[in-house]
């Protein structure tokens, strides 16, 4: 089983072993969930609900237990780190986060929020800022040395493996973000202006590679970085300038993690659809704090989980994934009491998923489009989801920057 040349090796025992390893590593996740719930909410009803939302996260089930990845353990560590932060045990929090970064470097996207918050709350507020800074720095460096130590003589190769820019702007299946909309606009424009598709522009063709846009300017990695940075900036500035207040800053810290993750998901280079979990799980933490947050969690759970559907493409999993999502969403809807808070167009948008699903399962065969446009269902899924994610991002960003505004609106209602 462990022989390096044994690629694609699988038998029943191996599968059971690997699956069990995921299940067992989920204990860390459960532990993280528990420690977060201890900090964030009181009252058994709220606690039960939050436990359900976090442990029952559909996306995590899809990605870890059906698709196969070890995200549970990482999100466990993230939650641990967040809970330590809320307990104001900053050094422990920093330690966990550094560990997390070395497990999966994608979490670098949320590091701006961490860095700013740690500097603000730990270093500047303490009596001797410099000493705190040294403490903090030494922890991070220690973790880094332990992690990269064995590979010190092959760093360039490691870096190249970790940050593969050759893979193109979007993944084979477009993650539902800004670039999906960009691609579609490009496609539409090329149809309108009748630009010849000579450069093999079939960018939904299922290949992982770089491609060129036809009408709109092609995107380089550096462009995505600048865009991401600019988009994160307001959020970070806000985090820098808010007053420290025990109750609300926890919430704002988590919100800024959500926003950092979501912004990088929106504009990042070669974003994978699984990265939506990085937004969804911290966001779920807030689902018991206010009605607005609960609604946002509800909305993004629906969109984000649906966007993971293409990961599970086997026919026998169709029922499982659909029913999983329906059960989760319905129970969330009943338990959270967000009925009044959900706007009518959000509801209609949510119902639209039924048609997207229907098209993929049945309509395309009825209209006999499945051979002519085999990738259309994937395209529709990612475009439809990206509309939702973009909407969520705008709304959530707005409510973070101007919390008073959204509160006032709620009162007027």
């Amino acid at each position: 089983m462990l022989e390096v040349k044994n690629l694609n090796y699988a038998n029943d025992m191996t599968i059971t072993f690997m699956r069990l390893s995921v299940i067992i590593s989920d204990i860390v996740y459960a532990f993280g969930v528990k420690s977060c719930i201890d900090v964030l909410c009181s009252g058994s009803l709220k606690r039960n609900f939050l436990t359900y939302v976090l442990l029952g996260n559909v996306g995590l089930f899809f990605v870890d237990h059906i698709h196969f990845q070890y995200n549970g353990i990482m999100f466990g560590i993230l939650l641990l780190s967040i809970s330590k932060m809320c307990h104001e045990k900053y050094l422990q929090s920093a330690f966990f986060f550094a560990m997390l970064l070395h497990m999966k470097h994608i979490f670098i996207y949320v590091s701006p929020a961490y860095i700013v918050y740690l500097l603000k709350c730990y270093c500047i507020r303490s009596e001797s800022p410099l000493r705190s800074l040294i403490k903090l720095g030494s922890i991070v460096i220690a973790v880094t040395i332990t992690s990269f130590g064995p590979f010190y003589n092959q760093m360039p190769q490691v870096i190249a493996r970790l940050f593969p820019f050759k893979r193109g702007l979007c993944h084979a299946y477009w993650a539902p973000n800004f670039w999906t909309l960009y691609n579609v606009m490009d496609k539409a424009a090329s149809k309108v202006f009748a630009v010849e598709a000579e450069k093999s522009a079939m960018n939904t063709g299922g290949l992982v590679q770089e491609f060129h846009h036809l009408v709109l300017p092609s995107i380089k990695p550096i462009t995505t970085f600048i865009l991401t940075f600019l988009a994160i900036l307001p959020c970070i500035l806000k985090l820098v300038f808010i007053k420290f207040d025990k109750q609300s800053t926890h919430r704002q810290f988590i919100q800024s993690i959500v926003l950092c993750a979501c912004t990088s998901f929106m504009f990042g280079w070669h974003v994978h659809e699984k990265a939506i979990l990085m937004v969804l799980i911290p966001l779920s933490l807030l689902s018991t704090s206010t009605k607005n947050d609960a609604t946002a969690t509800f909305f993004l759970s629906l969109v984000g989980s649906y966007s993971l559907f293409p990961l599970l493409f086997n026919a026998e999993l169709t029922m499982v994934k659909a029913l999983f999502l329906i059960s989760f969403i319905t129970l969330f809807y009943i338990q959270s009491g967000i009925r009044r808070n959900l706007k009518i167009y959000e509801f209609i948008y949510g119902c639209g998923f039924i048609f997207v699903f229907w098209y993929e399962q049945q309509l395309q065969y009825i209209f006999a489009l499945n051979e002519r446009l085999p990738f259309l269902p994937l395209l529709i899924t990612s475009v439809y989801c990206s509309i939702g994610v973009t909407y969520f991002w705008l709304i959530y960003y707005f409510s973070f920057l101007f919390p008073g505004e959204s509160l006032r609106r709620q009162k007027i209602k």
Binding site: N48, A315, E316, V320, I326, S327, L331
Partner: protein, 550 residues
């Protein structure tokens, strides 16, 4: 309200579709395969052969290879599913060539056909039934208990493991029976009779439920009417119901009415006397008696059948008389439980899966005596372990049961207006004492039930572990299945004429089993030792029988 219905249905379907991913009975085990192949083979037969040949042995229909042995409605259902299969992929049902077909897309198709029946018939029927009974005010049912009730009924692991795992369509016959109960509760007796006839014509095993239905309908015919014309009025109603039942039968059996011989052939296929009193290790009385007296050698099948019939009818009779004298829905449910259990314990050719017939009324009776019903349901699932192990469904069994019990624990923690009992033992991990109806009188009996439940759960776990990890002694290869059967064998006291009492006594054999095992591991079993242990074992197994005689 709608959201709750959607939730119940979707969770029920979700669990079923997950269990569908597991292996089915007889997957990759030629030459006979299992129940899955049986169902597929029936589709193959009924799609390709003329209707008169369905039950007959012909050159194209080898009855020795999974010949059709369910009544006509089942055959019609196979026909419809078979036609769909033919439309999707003709290879699924090609005559002769499709035998033992093992194909992922075919598995997916068959699994979906069961899920469709769940979605359209079984789950709605159970939901409506629960709803109706919750409204009946026989007992104080608060919202928490009714949520629990729905969950217990819709997510019962036994039915899911057999239908969606092992592979059968019990959900259709049980769903039809549940529909019949629904209409009976709504006093629409004629429609109820039609549904029950349909259910009986889907699986002959529904005979387990037939007597209480008959008696209840009979009793209600002569009950509510103006004084003067009681008898004539009742007779008219009886004729109406009887006529409807006969008409339904005629419609369903029409293709075979050309000759008496055909009808007899169908009947012969449906009630196979030749197969012996029981097939595998079943947790019923005969299987345990067989340990002491080898029944198969001493009694010919015909005589055994008569003995079985007498025992069964004898044990149902008190319950039926009681039902006839106090015919109300509650006694009806009790009588259904008694009757189906009596059939299960005493009748001829019982399958371990037939316990599902008893679980249906027990599930519906749940709010009246939650703990006892839960206990029974739990043991009933456990009694099917040998079957599930053979189908490689042990993992599914463990996971599903754990989920079921955890769900019950979660639901018992829902807020309620009812006063909680102040004394809660910490050992009561599933918080089951909260679902007990509160009445001060028989709290001792309640406690017995509670701890009995946990003890039997522990016993099950021990048996399960020893089944999985301890190799059976060589000279007793079937010891574990037998122990499981004995452990799960329940005996129900009949609801006696006056009181309508109902109790389940579980005779536990696990300690005998353990000591026997240890002895065997220590002493390298000699022949004398073996005789001694069997003797010791069989003495204990008298207890269920004695219970029956009381």
């Amino acid at each position: 309200m709608y959201a709750k219905i959607v939730l119940a249905v979707s969770i029920g379907m979700l669990i079923r579709s997950i269990i569908s991913l597991h292996p089915y009975s007889g997957q990759n085990t030629p030459p006979m395969y299992g129940d899955f192949e049986a169902q597929r083979h029936w589709q193959e037969v009924v799609v390709n052969l003329p209707i008169s040949d369905w039950y007959r042995n012909t050159s194209d229909n080898d009855l020795m290879y999974w010949g059709l042995d369910y009544p006509p409605l089942s055959a019609y259902h196979s026909f419809i599913v078979g036609q769909v299969a033919k439309f999707i992929n003709p290879k699924f049902v090609t005559l002769h060539e499709s035998r033992g077909l093992t194909d992922d897309s075919h598995k997916h198709f068959m699994r979906t056909s069961v899920l469709v029946a769940d979605l359209l018939l079984y789950i709605p029927a159970m939901l409506i039934c629960c709803q109706l009974i919750s409204q009946k005010n026989w007992f104080k049912i608060d919202e928490r208990l009714s949520t629990l009730y729905t969950a217990v009924a819709v997510l019962y692991p036994g039915q899911i493991l057999i239908d969606n795992g092992h592979f059968q369509y019990n959900n259709i016959s049980l769903g039809l029976a549940a529909a019949a109960i629904i209409f009976l509760l709504r006093n629409q007796n004629v429609i109820s009779a039609i549904f029950f006839t349909l259910s009986l014509n889907y699986k002959q095993m529904e005979l387990y439920h037939a007597l209480p239905f008959f008696v209840y309908l009979l009793a209600t015919c002569f009950k509510e009417s103006s004084r003067k014309l009681v008898f004539i009025d009742g007779l008219l109603r009886l004729i109406k119901i009887g006529g409807v039942v006969i008409l339904t039968f005629i419609v369903l059996w029409f293709p075979w009415f050309e000759s008496i011989k055909d009808v007899l052939q169908v009947l012969h296929r449906i009630f196979p006397l030749a197969r012996g009193v029981f097939e595998d290790k079943v947790s019923n009385v005969w299987c345990i008696v067989n340990v002491v007296i080898p029944l198969r050698d001493n009694f010919p099948n015909e005589r055994m059948a008569v003995i079985c019939l007498t025992c069964t009818l004898g044990s149902i009779l008190p319950s039926l008389i009681h039902l006839f004298r106090n015919s109300n829905p509650k006694t009806f449910l009790l009588s259904l439980i008694n009757s189906s259990l009596a059939f299960f314990l005493f009748s001829f050719q019982v399958h371990e899966k037939s316990i599902l017939l008893a679980t249906l009324p027990v599930m519906l009776y749940f709010p009246m005596d939650p703990l006892l019903c839960l206990w029974f349901l739990q043991i009933a699932t456990f009694s099917m372990i040998p079957l599930l192990v053979r189908d490689k469904l042990l993992l599914a069994f463990i996971a599903l049961n754990a989920f079921y019990l955890l769900l019950i624990k979660l639901l018992t923690e829902l807020p309620t207006k009812r006063k909680e009992k102040t004394l809660e033992s910490k050992l009561d991990i599933f918080k089951l004492s909260r679902i007990q109806p509160i009445h001060s009188k028989s709290s001792f009996f309640d406690n017995c039930k509670l701890w009995g439940f946990y003890l039997s759960l522990c016993g099950q776990i021990i048996l399960l572990i020893s089944l999985t990890f301890v190799p059976p002694p060589q000279h007793l290869p079937h010891i574990f299945p037998l122990l499981i059967s004995a452990f799960s064998c329940e005996v129900v006291d009949e609801s006696d004429g006056c009181g309508g009492k109902f109790s389940t006594i579980i005779v536990s054999e696990q300690f005998t089993g353990k000591s026997l095992l240890q002895r065997h591991r220590l002493v390298n079993a000699a022949l004398s030792e073996e005789l001694k242990t069997i003797h010791a074992f069989s003495q204990k197994t008298f207890t269920p029988e004695q219970w029956a005689q009381r």
